[in-house]
């Protein structure tokens, strides 16, 4: 049966169901239980955003609060993964990748390849990204391109509760290292989610809205802005096809190309900074593979080449807005 739950609840449910099914699944991260060693209540936080709340009661020491040592505990998760466990480790903010990135991109990502196909590293690293809550420069970035760039890593970015649960279950069952990216401003979005466990394959983009006039490709929070833009444009008779990539590595370019071959116009929306972004990656690939189909230059709607500002007034200008998406669509149509 499906019922409406939030993205936060969907992720929790995925973790719960997988822990139930597979005893090798363990969770670790800072404050994921909260209160370890303190005199107050157990399970005081259940994670910085409360994603884990209630799981400690069910699974006890399969949830580990960690000291403030990303390199050590992310590395430990990775090491444990090569030894038969299926850890889900939390990198609280994607911005913190700097303090532990070696373990992720030089170790986990490369074991399979460097060791000649003999290592399995089924680790999932959950992390929060994105701006919009005035968390300022060091807690608001969208560093998804950095992970996407690394061969050996898989990068997953759900935008809805249905996708969050299915992709988390898929990520845990996947035998390669997966970076599971959650936009910090989407935890309370609701949607229909089946009670049962289910999976969603990687490299399958979701078409949220069909249309023949222009293709909009995006992921994460920007999916919802793109859908809003499409609704507004529809009032003027412009039909946009909105594609949610869902996974950045592997990526479903087939769906994107197919759509562009039909519409001839492409707008890519990406909250990451523009240089070497997901937007530039997709644009280059489409220009290469669907050149003849294009009837207008590709438009990219991204944040600017700046750190994320603190002031809410500035942050609003920073994040790609629905209006900017609409303007880009109209620009492609003016050719």
């Amino acid at each position: 049966m499906a019922r409406e739950i939030t993205i936060k609840e969907a992720i929790r449910e995925a973790l719960d169901q997988e822990m139930q099914r597979d005893p090798t699944v363990i969770l670790m991260g800072e404050d994921i239980v909260g209160g370890t060693g303190s005199p107050g209540e157990d399970d005081a936080w259940g994670g910085a955003m409360g994603v884990y709340k209630g799981l400690f009661g069910k699974y006890g020491n399969r949830l580990l609060d960690t000291p403030l040592s990303e390199s050590a505990f992310i590395g430990a998760a990775i090491g444990a993964a090569t030894c038969g466990m299926r850890p889900v480790a939390e990198l609280m903010f994607i911005d913190f990748l700097g303090v532990c990135f070696d373990q992720i991109y030089n170790q986990a990502a490369k074991f399979r390849y460097m060791f000649g196909g003999k290592a399995e590293t089924p680790v999932v690293i959950r992390t929060m990204y994105g701006a919009g809550i005035s968390a300022a420069s060091q807690h608001s970035q969208t560093l998804t391109p950095i992970f996407t760039h690394i061969p050996g890593l898989k990068v997953v970015c759900p935008s809805t509760p249905y996708d969050a649960k299915g992709l988390m279950i898929q990520s845990i069952r996947d035998n390669d290292p997966v970076i599971f990216c959650e936009h910090k401003n989407t935890y309370d979005l609701v949607g229909d989610v089946p009670e049962e466990s289910y999976t969603i394959p990687f490299a399958e983009a979701n078409i949220l809205r069909e249309g023949d006039d222009v293709t909009i490709v995006t992921y994460g929070l920007m999916v919802h802005r793109a859908v809003e833009a499409a609704k507004q444009l529809a009032k003027d008779g412009i039909e946009c096809e909105v594609i949610d990539l869902r996974t950045l590595s592997p990526i479903d370019m087939e769906t994107v190309i197919e759509s562009v071959e039909n519409t001839g116009k492409l707008v890519v929306v990406d909250e990451a900074n523009p240089r070497c972004s997901i937007a530039s990656d997709i644009s280059a690939t489409v220009a290469q593979q669907a050149f003849k189909a294009l009837k207008a230059p590709i438009e990219m709607v991204t944040s600017p080449h700046t750190p994320v500002p603190f002031s809410p007034d500035l942050e609003k200008f920073y994040i790609p807005s629905t209006e900017k998406i609409i303007a880009s669509v109209q620009k492609t149509l003016s050719y």
Partner: protein
Amino acid sequence: MSNNPFPLNRDELLRAYRIMKTIREFEERVHVEFATGDLPGFVHLYAGEEASGAGIMMNLRQDDHISSTHRGHGHCIAKGVEVKGMVAELYGRSTGTCHGKGGSMHIADLDMGMMGANGILGAGAPLACGAALASKYKNDGTVGISFLGDGASNAGNFLESLNLAAVWDLPAIFVVENNGYAQSTSRDYAVAVDSYVDRAVGFGMPGVTVDGTDFFAVHEAAGEMISRAREGGGPSLLECNMIRFYGHFEGDAQTYRGQGEVDEIRKNRDCLKKFIQQVTQTKALKQSDLDGIDQEISVLINQAFDEAQKAPRPTEADLLTDVYISY
């Protein structure tokens, strides 16, 4: 008449010798071959440090895990990684341990509990913690051992791992193979404390210093720590003071070392000579036993290099394989 005062039986003594001698012969041969220019990339030789690797690994089972450093040949051999595969790997051939994809710095064999030599110093410490963590969940009594050098012992990875292992009470042993130099930088300069035991205690675990050129001293100290860890006694740190015969990497002129320093240590601080002396003088083993092993090792090394030099090279198609299990 043999008189064995050591806590290892005859077979174990022979095995210890075999391990150390194999490492020595392997490294010496690599040294020679590397000079011809036929070995691609970089190699970092373990010659002179054999007693540490052998002394520790003789306490381990196949399913115990170790993480190593860039100077990993000795750890690999001591942990039971197949020599022929290792040589082929150095040559980048498809018959190599890692099918030519890893090279000297990344030789690994997870089936033998060898989590890999590592090009990033200190990166193995968290990984060994991970192995130890898995051991706790699997309840299989295994341990995770992290080998590091004196240089890597300053890396954040290592220090974080010490704390993590203590906080989580992991069956983890951190072995600081202090050979006095981190590349060209002396340990005395780069490490503020006199002994790594101070760091161990500072992070909440016991630590012991041993002469890393004394196989028996290493074996005993490590044995105690490993048994304690297996029984749930938590992590420890072992400081093995030793020397390396060769430079940081092959090609390193070692101008940072004192005049005659290398000759002196080869003459007076060779752990293999020490071991031979110890076992033959007590008559625990006979020289002829050792000669027999020498002969076998010589054949093995020659075969390994011959075969490796003729082994097939990987093809362009191999370039793209094994990035993922499935994509």
